[in-house]
Symmetry: C2
Subunit: 399 residues, 2 copies
Amino acid sequence: MHTRDCYVSAPGKAILHGEHAVVHGKVALAVSLNLRTYLRLQSTSNGKVCINLPNIDTFLSWEITALQPLLDGCRDCLAKHVVLKQELDDDLLKRLRAFTGIADASTDTRSMAVLAFLYMYLSVFGEAKSLASITVSVWSELPTGAGLGSSAAYNVCLAAGLLSARGITSSPLTPQQDSARWSKEEMEQINRWAFMGEKIIHGNPSGVDNAVGTWGCFLRYHDGKITPLDRVPVLRILLTNTKVPRSTKVLVSGVKDKINKFPAVMKPVLESVDAVSCTCEQTLTEMSARGPSAEHYNILEELIDINQHHLNVMGVGHSSLDTLCKISLARGLHSKLTGAGGGGCGITLLRPETDASVIQSTVAELQACGFDCWETSIGGPGAQKYKKWSLPKQVLKCC
Amino acid sequence: MHTRDCYVSAPGKAILHGEHAVVHGKVALAVSLNLRTYLRLQSTSNGKVCINLPNIDTFLSWEITALQPLLDGCRDCLAKHVVLKQELDDDLLKRLRAFTGIADASTDTRSMAVLAFLYMYLSVFGEAKSLASITVSVWSELPTGAGLGSSAAYNVCLAAGLLSARGITSSPLTPQQDSARWSKEEMEQINRWAFMGEKIIHGNPSGVDNAVGTWGCFLRYHDGKITPLDRVPVLRILLTNTKVPRSTKVLVSGVKDKINKFPAVMKPVLESVDAVSCTCEQTLTEMSARGPSAEHYNILEELIDINQHHLNVMGVGHSSLDTLCKISLARGLHSKLTGAGGGGCGITLLRPETDASVIQSTVAELQACGFDCWETSIGGPGAQKYKKWSLPKQVLKCC
């Protein structure tokens, strides 16, 4: 079958406020991080399906004829389970694991990326007359395993690209536009497919990461319910990866232990974090409604500092994060960890008036500590479709 | 009249938990700090009253005949107001200010020390037939103006020494004892007199500092009510004075502003500090009842860390205090600010097994930062009376 070439991207994710507290029923604010993942889908005539993932040095291809048998007796279930209900088809996943030789216990980035791709490819094209001959290349600005939603951005790109190529979603691009986004209904469809990819990779994800990757901007997450915030500003930030490895599982369990050990001390801390998230949400809404003021930025900075102290109380701080806070504060900039903590990543808010020289010297000092550092933004757009020539040169070079 | 020579001492004070939160109706734990103030009272026959305060380079004396007129027409009111009701006699204070030339607006350490001494001397001896010829020397291990209750220790010593010399309190010393404490009733009397001295010096003190100086050990302070804790252990600490000057008034008002600005965020923080104080009290009580364990010390350390973060949330931290925390934590020791914060003093808990070499290297590094550092203890005895030869040599040399 003939498919349409396409170019899409999706942003990463950061937690602005509420990490850890969200596990205990409090509000979290998740935001899109403008380090993006780009996907290029090309129609080919070689009868193969190819996936190129230059970031993780993975270039694989399969003959369509070899994949076809995986769908035998599965067309009906695909139409029923996958396309309509969009539930994970455990049987297909099992066949794919057997086909690729990826064991149940495998969790490495490469295996998971391949599994998610093949599953989504077979599901999207499986109920068509024949499988499509395509090459999919994905390149990302996001580091993997850093809690920045790199797998979700990958899955959103796969969903957006494959659904677009298959003609399930329309092309939102008009001749005048270099990039565009889909309708609400189509975005919901992309998000649901991306969530399936997340389930393959993570088992039991919250759905926040793929929602941020799809919708972008700011999302409120509370008790399993995800609500996009209307009309919020894009904020300039520095993102720092301390590269200190940590286990989210161990950190989450440590916080739980601390709450059990000191309930009267810790429960009010979670209440306070909840109020930080809500006050931040309110401030962002005001910034959009009335236009951002210096006082708005002061409030955002104060909330960042308060939450960073609270995260230290929960025991998820780390000396590398203290270093980040100290280095940025020496220049009047405010930082907090984002995500699980115990190392990992931190965000530093940049004010509109923050001078380029200040940013440069901060980045230089952070890099001298061995950290990776990006000047980027949060709150920007979610998944997008592009015309080829409007993609950044580096992206075209890499995928 | 003939008076009895005597030697007394009183400890300083530290806040273990609850500083600032106490202003907003939460529990605070005040503890005696074993940096002590010593007073020597000698009977003389030169017809003079002398006060020697070597720490602040103050050596003054007055002819009794010159002081006598200050009491004219005041004997009755002294007996009524001071001795019975123990309320401050504003008229006598006014006369003393005129006599010494200390203006109403004066708040310097020397003027306040002189005013409190003369007021207490005239009040205690005023309703006797004649004023006593005495020399009072006071020497302290406590730095002044560092929030360590140096004025209270001074006032407790004055009260204990003068009441003892006048024969109002009995001598608690038996021939077998080198040092001893008074009965509960006499201690209450000493505390009330010391509180008057505090009123002269501070205007509207809480009464916590003189209570700690009198009773020693640990005191719970809540909504103006002071309750000594029974049977609590003495804890080894390092006391560090960063010597960074700060205004308690400005810091207290900053916390209030922050609570008004972010009530939903800040009120739970005060709740949590309250729970820290209560959990600490409970742990100290258990340590006495069952004997201290390593786990007890772990809890005390965790509470110190949590409260230090909370004080940072309140905005009363300081980079010098961060330095203290970092230097001590590098050796596994846990620190927090004590008192108003914004610089000032910090305490570091020492465990029973903490090695002398660890303490020495910590002290050396803190001193290299320009800080003053003392290895001492909290929770020790309050006001005491001594036999002369049992006093430390340095004390005998200085007063």
